[in-house]
């Protein structure tokens, strides 16, 4: 094992240079402001949590958790999501708090992954949780807020795919009763959005043509509100029926929000966290093949933290939006350079203060320091053109 070189940073993590930070901060601020307008208030939790509590409850697979030992030999993890730490907070410092509680966050989370090109082990999520509301109104509020948040982030064209864990589970239990292995294999293909794989799996199983039809029918259950009716006809399993009825109600509330045009019901949706118990959704931006947000209902997670209440929420995949989406950003302001000699410090600094008061960015430089070549922007990512250069000599402005 060779020692890393001085200039190396670990694989899968990133240095965000100023022009990227500007974009990231723009997303962060606009989305958090949007959530704040909806009554969601920001929370910050620690980077490290106990493995035995938040780590285990997080639904991140064990090999993807970053683990470490603390002074006392207790296993710690770097948080892999924010939903689980917030569940812990709801069961501790906020355990007396009356419900519903609305919380938001912008945080870095960690997943240990094979070092592949382009995969990140540390990345940002910007999200919201509605705790203590078990209704279709609550689910719809969270979806409507996800839509408003994507818009606030600057994502112009996107579609929300909406499904329900209970419908899929009910349907599979009906068609493949007690065949847990087969059920899990099919869920795995759906989780990966691998519909070819799903059909191949079906071909392998011993199924009547009726069973196969019923399961293949699932793949066609993608569209607007009429999917609700079709789905009701597909299954007679009570859990599947209750789930689809709930989804119909959510749709109705989304129509009242005036956002159903952004939503597509997709009953192959299963959600990427094992703690989801009800509706699940993902948001896809027009230009990208992977989701830019995901969310769902998790009515059992808080029970693990001693507070058995329903909850629903979502997170934007902030890094994917940062990298993949063309956002309309305000032009960065170019700074003013004030160059001064030793006899003009007072005047130069006073002028700088005055310009800063007017909201300008001002760099002051002792005059010898300013005789440098203008480098090209290619090899010099920080290079900015000055909007103006003001020179002070012997206490006087000599050129503007």
């Amino acid at each position: 094992m060779s020692k890393p070189k001085g200039f190396e940073k670990p694989a899968g993590v990133r240095d965000y240079l100023p022009h990227v930070v500007t974009k990231l901060r723009h997303i962060e601020r606009n989305v958090l402001d949007c959530m704040s307008e909806w009554g969601y208030r920001q929370i910050i939790t620690p980077t490290m949590e106990y493995y035995d509590t938040v780590g285990v409850a997080s639904s991140t697979s064990d090999r993807k958790l970053y683990k470490m030992l603390n002074n006392r030999g207790t296993t710690m993890v770097l948080r892999s999501d924010m939903t689980t730490p917030i569940a812990r907070v709801m069961g501790s410092v906020l355990k007396e708090e009356s419900l519903p509680v609305r919380l938001s966050y912008h945080a870095n989370v960690f997943r240990s992954i094979e070092e592949k090109a382009g995969r990140e082990t540390e990345f940002f999520q910007t999200g919201a949780e509605l705790v203590g509301n078990d209704s279709a109104e609550g689910d719809a509020e969270v979806i409507a807020l996800a839509i408003a948040s994507l818009q606030a982030a600057g994502v112009e064209t996107f579609k929300i795919s909406l499904g329900h864990v209970g419908f899929l589970t009910g349907l599979l239990e009906e068609v493949l009763p007690d065949q847990t292995i087969e059920q899990e294999a099919l869920k795995e293909t759906l989780l990966n959005r691998d519909f070819v794989g799903f059909r191949e799996q079906l071909a392998h199983f011993q199924l009547s043509s009726e069973q196969r039809q019923e399961l293949e029918g699932l793949l066609r259950l993608r569209g607007a509100q009429d999917i609700c009716r079709q789905a009701t006809a597909l299954s007679s399993n009570p859990r599947a029926i209750a789930s689809i009825q709930h989804l119909c109600k959510v749709w109705e509330v989304l129509e009242a929000y005036g956002v159903s045009e952004h939503v597509m019901i997709d009953l192959t949706m299963i959600g990427d966290f094992s703690y989801y118990t009800g509706m699940v959704f993902e948001g896809y931006a027009a230009e990208l093949g992977f989701p830019v947000c995901s969310g769902g209902r998790y009515d059992n997670l808080l029970t693990q933290f001693g507070r058995p209440v329903a909850a629903t929420g979502f997170a934007l995949k902030t890094n994917r939006i940062l990298d993949g989406v063309n956002l309309l950003l305000p032009q960065e302001e170019a700074p003013v350079l004030i160059a001064y000699d030793v006899n003009s410090r007072r005047e130069a600094f006073a002028h700088a203060t005055e310009l800063r008061r007017q909201g300008k960015i001002v760099i002051t430089e002792h005059i010898e320091a300013t005789h440098r070549l203008e480098p090209s922007a290619d090899t010099h990512p920080l290079t900015v053109k000055y909007s103006q250069t003001i020179r002070f000599t012997d206490g006087q402005i000599i050129s503007i």
Copy 2:
């Protein structure tokens, strides 16, 4: 070793509830905005770095570094400061960048400590680095920016103590030549601001009365500009003299900034990082016994990352300001509650959108959910009074 309970978080880390986050975000935003006005642009670096590079260079003692192994068995650390990662960035992605470079950050850093009451292992720093400027002008700019940053954070009354590593080192080398152990022992007491301990150490050493006088004289070298003259008289060591001459120049520039009233020269100052090579300073708020900011010149650190250039910078101790200083904060806005029945969703949501557009915070609740008791704020830290409740029934506003 007992398993942690579900509600427990690790010792030394913190959950920041919304009213605290508001205060923290206020400091963060105002300070970063101030730094931006001075031409300092934000950078974000990874939470994890290689132990062998950033970990070793960080000057955080080994036992205070949080270490962990990655997939490949390489030792990683959670960053213990931001100056060292920025030095790495200057030696890699920014190695072609023309100088000077001005960077700012707001970041959480980690120090593994004995679990004592009130000591934090994860906390925020908000800071700035000026890379590629080796002059007194550069040092003064950083001190003046630290002063502007404290003011932007809302710290009203504070004092900056300014010293120089070279003066102290030169003086000790002059009086106690080659007595490294004694030199280090004296430096340790000064680092801890333990002047009684300093005198006790002196009493233990075999010193002439002249030597003792010279070293005790150090403790009196605290005050305004006239300290420069007194200090020059105290030592004939070339390094000590060059250092004090540099400090006199810094003072002169600070006077031009109009901020010298906030500064006190204190030649017992040594700086809390071993990578400091020149001037060092700490800021003390009126109400607090510990520093709220610290900084200094570190001309050798970047050499370890392949870019031998001078640099100077500082960081606010953001958590101490958050907890210890009474800041003047804008009053948090109380939300409007819109309660609606199933026949009024459209009207209620449209009204909410309109109020949010006007900048109001609006919470919508299905009407059955709003018949809850108003809890007391003591046990319910999130409790907010609504500024207004608007009820919609059958599509009409029935009460405001």
